[in-house]
């Protein structure tokens, strides 16, 4: 098993290296010279051009440039914005809290809502199953920005239950402000986890060991808790983890829809403003989170499954 975990960690490291290289190299795919791209074609003072050249090491060979950029990253140097000239870390630090809380609330919704709905659909009769199946199918089909528009229109404006835009101040107020965004972000993924959970629970409901437990006279509730859910947990944990990772990709859209001051909305603004160092930094952060969460899920899976503990796969 240890070998499996190590192999997974090695693969994660390679993936991180390759994706950081891709994000780095994206700058050199631009039509025209990187310098013109970074200065938006403006003619700057020689000092300004010199500082950009120094920041991107444009006078060094390509691979050395990547190496210098990467070691800079590892020392916490994410570069400087080409618009405000401030360090990217200064620009991101007030914004990252909103995004983190949003993702955390979305993850909570996925794990609680998705698993509860899925178990209900798998265990209860055909009517509950039908309702959950219909709701989840619709949930999968709704883009987050459409959910956001609907929730803002009805729950925030018409009923006045929630604030419309902004992130609020103080923890309780912030959670209240982020409730609708978290629902918009998580809805499709809740539906997905519910579907997978339902399928896993159904398989276990009809399994031999559940039938045996029933024939021994165990109450159905106990059979479901001890035999069905516990065995169905493995695929559920895996899928929940992977969907939590993919929450990260959706933050840009939801933060823009609710005008939240998070790093996702800032990513989109920076793309519109051609502020490439900021785009690179935020993409890198999001990809690293995505890759690391996925790796953690995989390793958890290895640790959870007793069948893999013998060392053979």
């Amino acid at each position: 098993m240890l070998a499996g975990v190590l192999r997974r960690l090695l693969r994660t490291l390679v993936t991180l290296l390759v994706s950081s290289f891709l994000i780095f190299a994206a700058l050199y795919l631009t039509p025209g010279s990187p310098l013109a791209f970074l200065t938006h074609g403006h003619s700057l003072s020689p000092e300004a051009i010199h500082s950009i050249e120094a920041q991107y090491h444009l006078n060094k060979p390509f691979l050395e440039r990547y190496w210098l950029w990467l070691t800079g990253l590892l020392h916490g140097d994410l570069g400087r914005s080409t618009i405000t000239r401030e360090p990217v870390t200064t620009l991101l630090s007030p914004r990252i809290g909103v995004t983190l809380l949003l993702v955390a609330m979305g993850a909570l919704l996925i794990v609680s809502g998705g698993i509860v709905l899925g178990v209900l659909a798998g265990v209860r009769g055909r009517r509950t199953d039908g309702v959950v199946l219909t709701v989840t199918t619709i949930g999968l089909a709704i883009p987050s920005f459409v959910t956001a528009t609907i929730l803002i229109n009805y729950l925030a404006l018409k009923l006045g239950w929630f604030p419309v835009y902004g992130a609020g101040s103080g923890f309780a107020d912030r959670v209240w402000h982020l409730t609708l965004p978290a629902i918009s972000l998580a809805l499709g993924l809740v539906a997905y986890v519910a579907l997978i959970t339902r399928a896993a629970v159904r398989v276990e409901m009809g399994s031999d060991h559940s039938e045996t437990a029933r024939s021994r006279g165990l109450r159905e509730g106990l059979v479901i808790r001890r035999h069905v859910v516990r065995n169905a947990l493995l695929p559920i944990v895996t899928v929940s983890g992977i969907t939590v990772a993919s929450l990260v990709a959706g933050v840009a859209v939801v933060e823009k829809a609710y005008e939240l001051p998070g790093i996702g909305a800032y990513l989109v603004d920076s793309v519109s403003n051609n502020d490439f160092p900021v785009v690179q930094a935020i993409c890198l952060i999001l990809v690293v989170v995505y890759v690391v969460v996925n790796a953690v899920v995989d390793v958890t899976y290895l640790l959870l499954d007793p069948r893999l503990r013998t060392g053979r796969r």
């Binding site: 795919l29 631009t30 459409v146 609907i150 229109n153 990709a249 959706g250 859209v253």
Partner: protein
């Protein structure tokens, strides 16, 4: 019941495609003609869904918007199917180090969320549909490749492939004429699923202002442009294109599930 829903979805999608193709004939007004004196009109015979902030007919904009909203995802899946199937068949057929190498490439591609890749592509190549379509096509490739590779590996071991090899048929012919047709139902089901997700992702790109640019009409863009008016109580421009998006994706997903059931792997 199930088949009735399937037929309903097929009919609805056919109508939407027809609407997109015949947009100039169906739309009662020009999608871009501004008339400030008729802003925010309610639904009427002349404007079935009312008008937006610039007095443009919302129904006509939705009809024309169907074009980019459907053609974009079509481009994405065309790329993903071409790349994904080619990679998967090569990996499954040759096996060995080719398989190991290609699978590693597929794994790394998997580590990039599609929407993020599309946003980077826009940052590099500029706004418009071209860069996001290419980026999403690449991001969806590993999904298709994994599904097809697994299935092709199973098929490869079956007697009919051995029989074809014994007959001395060239590998290209075996893969193309014998292996591919048997993997095809699965490819079709996976393509339908990806069309649904590509529709959502591309609409999101346009919603963010990074895809289709005004004054063209696109459903995602319409939702974004209609948002300020919601605060003033005019929700039509933002809501109707959103509903159109949801209905199209819903029908595609329902069909995808039927195709998946027929390909022998129920969800």
């Amino acid at each position: 019941m199930r088949s009735r829903i399937t037929v309903a979805c097929l009919v609805f999608l056919a109508l939407v495609v027809l609407m997109a193709v015949l947009a100039p004939l169906i739309a009662p007004h020009s999608p871009t003609e501004v008339n400030l004196s008729s802003a925010y009109l309610g639904p009427s015979l002349e404007h079935p869904l009312g008008t937006d902030a610039s007095g443009r007919d919302i129904f006509s904009r939705i009809v024309f918007g169907a074009r980019t909203s459907l053609l974009g995802p079509l481009g994405v899946i065309a790329l993903a199917v071409a790349f994904g199937v080619a990679l998967a068949l090569a990996a499954a057929w040759f096996g060995g180090w080719v398989d190991t190498g290609l699978s590693a490439v597929i794994d790394v591609l998997f580590s990039f969320p599609g929407l993020l890749l599309a946003i980077i592509a826009v940052a590099v190549f500029g706004v418009g549909l071209g860069a996001p379509i290419l980026a999403l096509g690449i991001a969806y490739t590993p999904i298709m490749a994994r599904v097809v590779r697994a299935s092709a590996l199973r098929e490869r071991e079956l007697p009919y492939i051995a029989a074809a090899s014994v007959l001395g048929l060239p590998a290209r012919l075996i893969v193309w004429r014998h292996l591919l047709p048997n993997v095809w139902p699965l490819i079709l089901a996976q393509t339908a699923v990806m069309f649904g997700y590509a529709t959502i992702d591309l609409a999101a790109i346009s919603f963010l202002g990074l895809g289709v640019q005004p004054p063209s009409s696109d459903w995602g863009l319409m939702v974004a442009q209609g948002r300020p008016a919601i605060l003033a109580g005019h929700s039509a421009e933002a809501l109707y294109p959103g509903i159109a998006l949801v209905l199209v994706v819903l029908c595609v997903m329902v069909l995808a599930r039927r195709l998946g059931d027929r390909a022998g792997r129920g969800l």
